[in-house]
Subunit: 164 residues, 2 copies
């Protein structure tokens, strides 16, 4: 009988493949995890008054994965019981599809919520991932480590509020 190998899913991933939300959480599941908070970012049909056709994400993948690892370490310093897994999709992503999934597990729900929220704000702050929006009548680069200053100010407020 052939031997079957079980490969654990990666905790941090940047890939053109569709995101499997259950796989993200399962990469960090443990018997002591009482709370799992999953954040999924979906491509919206409208943004800033424009009808969106699809998005394209570009990443500098090796450094993006490294940034996820760093963000997870930062979160574990702040909330020691929490562990994070982060998968980001690249390439063309259609309306309603997931561009990112972040899973946070902890014995305590407050830490899982906090770590998950921290991660999405930090990714938008430091990860080398850029969003190319194709809309009715045009296209534009709109997000990533190069996000505008107003967005950055709101992000800092969210990160500095030691909520939950």
């Amino acid at each position: 009988m052939p031997q079957r190998l079980r490969v654990s899913p990666a905790r941090f991933r940047v890939s053109d493949d569709p995101i499997d939300q259950a796989e993200v959480a399962s990469s960090i599941a443990a018997p002591g995890s009482g709370a799992v908070v999953t954040f999924v970012g979906l491509v919206r049909d409208y943004n800033a008054g424009r009808q969106v056709l699809f998005l394209e994400y570009e990443a500098f993948a090796p450094l993006a994965v490294k940034s996820f690892d760093r963000i997870a370490s930062e979160a574990t310093e702040k909330w020691p019981s929490a562990a994070l897994a982060i998968h980001h999709r690249t390439g063309r992503v259609r309306i309603g599809e997931a561009s990112i999934a972040i899973a946070a597990v902890s014995p305590h729900r407050a830490d899982a919520f906090a770590a998950s929220r921290y991660a999405i704000e930090r990714i938008k702050q430091i990860s080398p991932i850029w969003k190319h929006e194709h809309f009715e009548g045009g296209e534009v680069w709109i997000e990533g480590a190069t996000a505008d200053l107003e967005d950055e100010a709101a992000r800092r407020v969210a990160l500095e509020r030691a909520c939950w």
Copy 2:
């Protein structure tokens, strides 16, 4: 050819059936939903220094479902862009299995996070659901609308903090 009916999954449910996390979120998915935050509560192997064998949840189901509906309305008053779905399991739930799943969708991630967190605290505060813990050497009723006062104080702090 037989006609196939598509039945939308219920937004609010209390049932002995295992929880399907994807189904909870799909009950409120919409093309404008940019953010989905899912909270899943899993049965932990240890609690308060005791090795847990399994849990049993009892609910007064009609009122529990009604309380979920009320909590979702409260959340939508606070965060108008957010919608909630809540499924709670009853009966025997084993280690690692989900007892509850809450999905919050919104065009904006801050509202999805806030609504999801609000919901779990309010459920523990007002929903008629009780947890019977079976552990090595005994059993005890430990949670629900009858939660102890210290827990309740912490919950009020979380609910009153208008985070995110």
